[in-house]
Amino acid sequence: MSSQEIVHCENLSVELGGVSVLSDLSFSVIEGDFLAIVGPNGGGKTTLLRVLLGLQKPSAGSVRVFGSEPGRHPGKVGYVPQRLFFDRDFPLCVSDAVLMGRIAMKTPFRHYNRADRQAVEESLRTVGLSSLANRRIGALSGGELQRVLLARALAGNPELLLLDEPTASIDPSMKTTIYDLLDHLRKRMTIVLVTHDTGMVSRFVSRVICLNCRMVLREPPAASAGGSVVEEAYPYQVDHLLHHAPGRPESGAIS
């Protein structure tokens, strides 16, 4: 495999307040991957993302992102949080919120310049929100806000895009829009997505990880193999993972 390894986790374990949230997890993400992390609530999906972002220290094992400790290359990583808890009265317009996505590549003392503003315009165009650039951030709907968060991550031209449940709080038609957008973006960057949409993801992603503290499944199952392994991860009935759309990359090698 000539592609570069972007994320490498080996025997990763995380404990939060004495409770094991992730245990003995090993996987890697290769350049160009579109990886989905699925699993039940409390399965450690968000924790894994926080580890990759450098917000949560692992209690054992090693994690490498772009060959270094997580958090060392903020300019290469774009992050789309699940939800943003902010004051609806915050005096901020959409384009200024997206401009924050450029901060990782600016040194202190330097103010945003024309190139930064252009990157913002471009990423707002990508997510289809150009017309709302001057709208107050508090006046947006849930789906619009989600796309603003995506635009903010894209404004920094990341090589790795990490998304935490980007479709959790929006209606089904908007979900498809977001996935179509990600399908388009995968040509430009590596994507790791945490999601509940077990049915939806298999249509788009190249690989799936099922997490319920331990990693249950690493490869996308063949359509015939069905969801038995996924059901092992979930304590309840789930949509089967069916691998649609021939012609998409089946899977990358897993370390």
């Binding site: 902010f86 915050f90 005096p91 317009c93 924050m100 901060i103 103010h111 001057n134 920094g156």
Partner: protein, 273 residues
């Protein structure tokens, strides 16, 4: 009328001090409001009373005593909250009371009578000596310069701290810097409204301004103008009616705050019909 008023040096100083304080107040007050750190600011201000006691005890200008005390309180409360996992609420409560207590002890240890003590507690803008005016101007310059230099860091810190962290911004460092700027703003405002009333001038103008602004910069501008309006109107009223100037400024600001919110309520009721 204002022409006569200006002939007196004390009135000229009072007006200049109000305007300088309003600038710092509008800028830093906006951060206090959007980041919801009003009570940390109150804690820093009250801890600063220890500095006034220190000033009396050492026989120096009490404002010089306030600077180290308020900066120390800002950094200690910030660090305890961030690093030592002490709840910020607890740290604020402890510093608030201990600062005031040490002020009382230091003033008690100072032989003789403590002149103007009341004016440091509740402000007396009509007694600002020229030396204090220069000090206020210098602090203003420091506050405005630092706030301008780090405006993008302070904005992301106020809006989405986790994202700031992920983007490689040194969030604890900038948070402590912001608290330090609040501490310096407290020093600037002590002469105008006094330690006890500082928190109102830091929050009310910015809180009103937020309702009418689309950007943080706009909010700072409106907050500065409102703060200047309240200070000058309060100054004039207190002069005309012989009232305590700091308290008059705060009561005016509070009335404006109530009126704006009552007005909004009435308008939204009328629209709903």
């Amino acid at each position: 009328m204002p022409g006569n008023l200006f002939a007196f040096e004390f009135l000229r100083n009072a007006v200049l001090a109000s305007l300088l304080a309003s600038l710092a107040c509008g800028i830093i007050g906006s951060y206090v409001v959007v980041k919801k750190i009003g009570f940390i600011s109150g804690g820093i201000a009250h801890t600063a009373f220890g500095g006034i006691g220190l000033g009396y005890y050492l026989g120096i200008n009490p404002l010089l005593g306030v600077i180290p005390f308020s900066l120390g309180a800002a950094i200690a409360i910030g660090l305890l909250g961030r690093k030592a996992k002490v709840s910020e609420d607890t740290a604020i409560g402890a510093f608030w009371a201990v600062g005031m207590a040490s002020g009382v002890i230091l003033i008690g240890l100072t032989p003789g009578y403590a002149p103007n003590l009341f004016s440091y507690l509740f402000g007396n803008i009509l007694t600002v000596p020229s030396l204090d005016l220069w000090m206020i101007a210098l602090l203003d310059l420091v506050i405005v310069t630092l706030a301008w230099m780090f405006s993008k860091e302070f904005l992301v810190l106020s809006f989405d701290e986790e994202y700031a962290e992920v983007s490689g911004v040194k969030t604890t460092l900038f948070y402590l810097l912001l608290l330090s700027l609040i501490a310096l703003t407290v020093v600037v405002l002590v002469r105008v409204v006094g330690i006890v009333l500082v928190i109102a001038l830091l929050t009310i103008p910015a809180a009103i301004a937020r309702l009418f602004s689309r950007s943080l910069g706009g909010m700072m501008l409106i907050a500065s103008l409102l703060s200047a309006l309240f200070s000058l109107a309060g100054l004039w009223l207190s002069y005309e009616l012989d009232l305590a100037s700091g308290a008059t400024i705060i009561v005016l600001a509070g009335l404006a705050f109530l009126l704006v919110h009552a007005g909004r309520l009435v308008i939204s009721r009328l629209r709903a019909r």
